[in-house]
């Protein structure tokens, strides 16, 4: 106690001094509150030179510019997408779901000159699952998948966090799928008659790729969850595609229909019936 008291006494003026210093500091901040720090990007050279002033950013009214390499919401430019499925494969959280349909003819060219041969009946990105690692954008061969600067896109319903980039409407996808199946059947018939040409095996191999794709996302049991909101958003976007799958490939996809059909009656019987009717 004696030591403590003596320190109190000897430091009396130091304490008074520091108390006054604190008051002056508070006053300095109070005074400098008449001006605000300018809203500027971190890229700005004078970003760290603003020492005084109010730091608040009135967010909904103003916002700090996002740097060019900012990683926020994903956007897929379907015009440039070749539906190669690389993004879905590399995604560590599996937030990208793609349902490809091979086209019988060349659809077009991407802006970098690649040929587009596959339609995407489904190209859903679940931003609620996204971990913003940006891997999908690095692997994208045509740079169609990019991270934009949009970061404020919260939703009241988590299902609205799924973004749809499909370039086919459900009806179109049914048509396209049929076209492809018929073309394949024709080729097989042709193959059966003469000896196989060079084109056929490659086409079959290509054709099997999309078949293999659904496999990774089937065991997750997530597609149904994704599929339901899609139905709600734009009626039966996925249902026809989901139910037409068994038609095109009988072998591995036998396991799909039950998994997809189970959730349908759970939430909306109407949707299920609609899906059937559209089929």
């Amino acid at each position: 106690m004696a030591v403590k008291n003596s320190t109190y006494r000897t430091h009396f003026f130091t304490i008074i001094g520091s108390l006054l210093g604190a008051v002056l500091l508070a006053w300095k901040h109070f005074r400098s509150a008449i001006h605000r720090k300018k809203i500027m990007s971190i890229d700005d050279t004078s970003y760290f030179h603003q020492k005084d002033g109010v730091v608040t950013t009135l967010y909904p009214y103003e916002s700090i510019p996002v740097p060019d390499n900012g990683r926020y919401r994903l956007h897929n430019e379907m015009e440039d997408c070749i539906v190669c499925d690389l993004c879905a494969k590399i995604c560590p959280v599996d937030c990208i779901a793609i349902d490809p349909i091979k086209s019988t003819v060349e659809i077009g060219k991407t802006s970098d000159g690649s040929t587009r041969r596959i339609y995407a009946a489904t190209f859903d990105i679940d931003m609620a699952k996204c971990c913003y690692c940006g891997l999908c954008t690095t692997v994208c061969p045509t740079e169609s998948l990019t991270m934009t600067k949009a970061y404020d896109y919260s939703e009241f319903d988590i299902r609205n966090m799924v973004y749809h980039f499909a370039d086919l409407s459900p009806e179109e996808s049914v048509v396209k799928r049929k076209e492809w199946d018929e073309a394949q059947a024709a080729k097989l018939a042709a193959k059966a008659a003469p000896v196989a040409t060079e084109e056929k095996p490659s086409a079959v191999a290509d054709g099997e790729q999309p078949v293999a794709k659904p496999k990774p996302f089937i065991p997750k049991a997530m597609p149904p969850k994704v599929a339901i909101p899609v139905k709600k958003a734009d009626d039966a976007n996925v249902t026809p595609s989901a139910e037409s799958k068994p038609e095109e490939t009988p072998k591995p996809k036998v396991s799909i229909p039950p998994k997809i059909k189970i959730p349908l009656p759970k939430k909306k019987d109407d949707d299920a019936t609609k899906g059937e009717t559209t089929e």
């Binding site: 109190y8 604190a22 008051v23 901040h29 109070f30 509150a33 605000r36 109010v54 608040t56 009135l58």
Partner: protein, 359 residues
């Protein structure tokens, strides 16, 4: 007169609370480099009004296990005790609830009843945090009333009266005033700041500082806000209160701030007189005081009293956002080991000075 003063005081306290709560939030924001309330009304001016409306609509929750009589009664007692303190406080020359000869004494006698209310709050709520808060509050208020009383004694030694009207009148232009307490230098015709008690009698400068600090503790303001220390005691003694009753406790706290700020102005800072002195031909004091007996005199009085009081309140607010809270033992150390001897010394100095130099 009494009725008018009553209504005036009530209105002033309510308006003041609305303004000062807003000011406090803004000042806090500015000290912390923020912007404070902005959304309700222009520049957030109606924020307090919105908060008050919300508060009034809230359910008045009375805990089952509480002592209901004490719980219901306490906020009223606290508010009435503090409100009664305003009885002897004049708002302008002649405009006073009760022109008591023992004004200061009466104010502190009545205001200290607020301790009973605080204890009722803490005890009646039957909540450990509330009780802790109340116990701390009582320990603090009773302790700090001693140096506070001695500070008042130092002032009264000099003024020779307990009546606040008279104390105000002593600090007017043309009343006897000596520069820095030296009778040889008579500056009565200067008026303004030179007629202030702290300038007329410089012993009162440390007394004023001490008075300011002890009154901060009296109204449970930071850095002496251990009774309601949010980080330790939830909300301190008013933990269990909600709605209107909480509003009354809140209002009492702010009314107490106003009361002590007014007292500080009356006792040390020249009451409602202009701070600008007459310098030869430039009669700043005359120009800013109005003619005696004319309505302009009242207007100027109210103006200067308001400005000075609000300045004091502003610094009460600023200190809250400057200093960290004291620990209980530090609080007691400060009071009993530092302020008490210091205030005794100041009373003695004040008496000796008055005896040998002025009287």
């Amino acid at each position: 007169m009494f009725v008018w003063a009553f209504l005036l005081t009530l209105t002033v306290i309510l308006l003041y609370a609305v303004v000062v709560v807003y000011a406090e939030r803004k000042a806090a924001a500015f000290v912390q480099d923020r912007l404070g309330p902005l959304e309700v009304g222009p520049k957030g001016l109606l924020q307090t009004v919105a908060d008050l409306l919300k508060l009034l609509q809230k359910e008045d929750i009375i805990p089952n296990a509480s002592d209901k009589i004490l719980f219901r009664l306490a906020p009223w007692l606290i508010f009435i005790a503090i409100f009664c303190g305003f009885i002897a406080l004049p708002w302008a020359p002649g405009l006073v609830g009760s022109d008591l000869p023992s004004g200061i004494f009466m104010i502190f006698a009545v205001v200290s009843l607020d301790v009973i209310g605080l204890f009722m709050v803490g005890w009646g709520a039957n909540n450990k945090y509330a009780l802790f808060g109340a116990v701390r509050s009582i320990a603090q208020i009773i302790s700090y009333e001693i140096p506070l009383g001695l500070c008042l004694l130092a002032v009264v030694t000099f003024t020779g009266t307990l009546n606040l009207q008279e104390i105000a009148a002593q600090q007017a232009l043309h009343s006897t005033s000596y520069l820095f307490g030296i009778p040889a230098v008579d500056v009565s015709h200067w008026g303004g700041i030179f007629a202030w008690n702290i300038i007329r009698f410089p012993v009162l400068i440390p007394v004023a500082i001490l008075f300011f600090i002890t009154t901060l503790a009296e109204c449970n303001r930071a850095p002496f806000d251990i009774p309601e220390a949010e980080s330790e005691l939830v909300a301190g003694f008013h933990t269990e209160y909600s709605g209107f009753r909480f509003g009354m406790l809140f209002l009492s706290e702010y009314a107490m701030m106003l009361l002590v700020a007014l007292l500080l102005v009356f006792l040390f800072l020249g009451a409602w007189h202009s701070p600008l002195p007459n310098i030869a031909a430039i009669a700043l004091c005359d120009w800013t005081s109005g003619a005696v007996g004319h309505w302009s005199a009242i207007a100027w009085s109210v103006f200067w009293l308001g400005i000075k009081t609000m300045t004091v309140v502003f610094w009460q607010i600023m200190l809250r956002w400057t200093f960290p809270r004291l620990r209980v033992d530090q609080l007691m150390h400060l009071c009993w080991k530092l302020f008490l001897p210091l205030s005794m010394l100041l009373v003695l100095t004040s008496a000796v000075w008055k005896w040998f130099l002025i009287a």
